[in-house]
Structure formats: C-alpha cells, structure tokens
C-alpha cells in the first residue's frame, strides 16, 4: 500500500500553526515513515504533483490568491483540515473586518507612522498583485472543510494525534486540556 499523502499551506496566517506541526519533535521521523508530503512550504513543493489524502490549511482567506489556493486544495485533497483560529474564524487578520478596506490601505501605505519614501502617495495596485478581499473569511465559508482543529496555534500533540487518526482511521480523541481557542 502506498503511503498517505499530505499537503499543507499557509493562507492569511503567521506560520505559527506550521511551527506547531514541527513542534512534534522527533515524532516527525515517525510521521515521515507514515506519510509522504506533497505541496507544502515545508518541502517547498509549489504545485500539486498528485492527488493528496489530507490537506492542512493554516490561516483565513484575505485575498484572491488565498481563494485560488484553497480551491486548489479542495480539488486535490480528499480531507481538508482547518488548522488554527485564523483558518476557523479569520483570527487576528480578521480584526480589519470592521475597518473599510480603503482606510486599511491608506494607513498601511500613506498615513501610518512607519511610512517613508512614498511622496507620490501610491497604494500598490499592480494587476500582478492578488486582489485584497473586503473582509477576511473563515476557510469553511469559502470551501467545504471536513475537520477543524482549534487553537492559536493548535498544540503539536493535537496536530499529531489528528494526523495519526486520519491516517489510521482511528477515532480522534482530544483531551480537554488540548482543546483550546487560544
């Protein structure tokens, strides 16, 4: 039997959930025995080369590129997992959801205290750049998500146990102490 294939990505996130995945320490050797990684920032594979069994999504959806990547994951992964608060509810990036987008961009590129050398008062708007969405959306409001792992970040144990349960088909049992939103 071939090994289950895992893909991961970080959308509007801070890579903290990927760091938490790496926090499984030496168990990463066991995981490497159990699974094969495809598209992921961990191995720097940029494009899907085959269909995957599990896709781990970190971060919410804040721009058109995030939507594209998320839909790509949905098409190529049998099971899609929202990892962490940002993927589940937008998280800290969603703090901008109550501020009009124009105000956010003006603060970032024109009027913010750390803005320098922008005499022409340009807000980047090249067509090569992903279009920023009006709000930061939870992943499950864009595509179907099968499993949610809460936490900021979810603990390494929880991510590991979730992966093992998905691979082996065993029921995922999360201890109370590990199930947290923060």
């Amino acid at each position: 039997m071939s090994k289950p294939i895992i893909a991961t990505t970080s959308l509007a996130g801070c890579f903290g959930c990927h760091m938490s995945l790496l926090d499984i320490d030496e168990r990463i050797l066991e995981l490497a025995e159990l699974v094969e990684f495809n598209k992921s920032p961990i191995n720097d594979i940029k494009k899907f080369t085959k269909k995957c069994d599990v896709g781990l999504i970190e971060g919410g959806v804040c721009n058109s590129e995030n939507i594209h990547v998320l839909k790509d994951f949905r098409e190529n992964c049998k099971i899609l997992v929202s990892v962490g608060e940002c993927a589940i509810m937008g998280g800290l990036p969603a703090l901008r959801n109550n501020i009009p987008l124009r105000e956010c961009l003006e603060e970032a590129y024109l009027d913010g205290p750390s803005v320098e050398n922008n005499e022409e008062r340009i807000i980047p708007n090249d067509e090569e750049l992903p279009l920023i969405l009006d709000k930061v959306y939870p992943c499950h409001e864009v595509v179907k998500i099968d499993i949610h792992l809460p936490g900021c970040p979810p603990s390494a144990d929880m991510i590991y146990e979730a992966l093992v349960s998905l691979i082996t088909g065993k029921e995922l049992k999360v201890p109370y102490e590990a199930f947290k939103y923060d």
């Binding site: 800290l92 109550n98 923060d182």
Partner: protein, 237 residues
C-alpha cells in the same frame, strides 16, 4: 422545614425544596446545568437560554422554572445539547470573539461551555459586527465586541445605596452596556475586579493589569466548566 419535592434529572432521583428553581436544585443535587446569564444570588433572568432543559416534553429554562413534584427533567439528551450548542454558536458568530488575544480567555464562561460541548467551529456564518471599545472609565474598559447582553453586571454591581452602576443604553439591536459616570466615580479596585469577574465573557476588563494568571493555570484550563458541581468529573470530551 419546608416541603421536600421529589423529581428526576436524566433518571437520577433528586430532591428539592419548594420554590427552588430547577437550576438551583440541580446544583444542590450535584448535577451541572450550563448557564451564562444566571448567577447565584441574583434574580434569574432567563435570557441566555443556555440552561434549557426538557420538562415533561417541553423546553424550559432551568434558571426560572421552579421544581414541581414528580417532574421528569432531561438535561443531557441529544436534542437539548444540540439546542445549547446552537445558542453558543450563535453567540460566537453574533459578536467578535477573538479568543487568542482576549484577556478573559481561559476564564470565560462562553468559551468554557463551547469547550465542554466540543465546538470546533460554529455552524453559522460569522457576522463580524461593527462594535466599539470604550476606555473612558478610569478603572474599566468596555469591549462591546464581546458583550452578550446577559445583564449580569447591571444586576450584580451596585453602589452602597443599591443603585446599579451599569445600565443598558439604546434600544433593540443597538443596545449596549453603559457605566454610570457619577456612580462609578468612587469605584474601588475591588469593585472593578468584581465587575470584571461577574462578566461571563470579556466585555468588562479591569484596567492596568492583564494576563496575570499564566496559561495553564486559568479557571477552565484543566477542568471543564461545572466540574466543581458534578460528582463525576469529566476528564475527556
């Protein structure tokens, strides 16, 4: 001694005094019924509906319904838990609850009940309402993003004359909690702490001190809400 009433919760035989509410009687019989708006010592309001139980086939709020002789109460059946979960999920999407940076995280009743019922993500779409933060009061910070309008602060925090320091302002969906400037002028640090503690969420935050208790030692870090009431403690979900 007042008359003793016999009733059952999920088939467990319980006893109550006449006039006792289902919630108080359940607590006395070491059975936990979750609630957000109720607080021992305050007149029950029945507004959050989280304490819904099924009595003889009807849904009633346990905090406002007195026990009657022979009542058969369901507290943990599937439909009740689904109703409670849906209420918690509605509250989570109705406000802006950013647990990762909230000072009340770990000590928050709303979050603790969501943990107890193992809610990984709400079934409803997030509303991201536009709400304010007010820091005009000297001792307290109000974050309307997190307020669930339970009225616990209004009912529980009073000055020496029995006047409420908190009040509702505006009407309908625009209603918010407000602090009386005059009455709160002489607020002590203890009262400010009491106001923060009485809030089941993080809508009232005491200024100048924060994140004092480290992660792992907070109220609901190790044991689910209600563990102090229940005889059989739940260790896993």
């Amino acid at each position: 001694m007042s008359k003793v009433l016999n009733f059952t919760i999920d088939g467990v035989i319980c006893m109550a005094e006449k006039g006792q509410t289902i919630l108080n009687a359940a607590t006395a019989n070491k059975i936990y019924i979750p609630t957000l708006c109720n607080l021992p010592g305050l007149k029950p309001r029945g507004s959050c509906r989280v304490c819904n139980v099924k009595v003889n086939g009807k849904f009633l709020t346990a905090c406002t319904t007195p026990v009657a002789e022979g009542m058969e109460i369901e507290n943990n059946s599937e439909d009740i838990i689904d109703i409670r979960k849906s209420i918690i999920e509605l509250l989570l999407v109705e406000g802006n609850h950013y647990c990762p940076y909230c000072e009340k995280s770990g000590n928050c009743d709303l979050q603790a009940i969501a943990y107890k019922y193992n809610i990984p993500a709400p079934r409803f779409p997030y509303q991201f309402p536009d709400r304010d933060i007010e820091a005009t009061n000297g001792k307290l910070l109000k974050d309307h993003n997190r307020c669930i309008l339970c009225k616990r602060c209004i009912r529980g925090i009073k000055d020496e004359d029995g006047k409420s320091i908190f009040a509702f302002k505006r009407r309908g969906h625009k209603v918010i909690i407000n602090i009386d400037t005059r009455l709160s002028a002489n607020m002590t640090d203890e009262m400010a702490q009491e106001a923060m503690d009485i809030c089941p969420v993080g809508a009232i935050i005491k200024k100048e001190i924060g994140f004092k208790v480290p992660i792992g030692e907070r109220k609901y870090d190790k044991e689910p809400i209600g563990s102090d009431i229940e005889e059989i403690k739940a260790t896993t979900i």
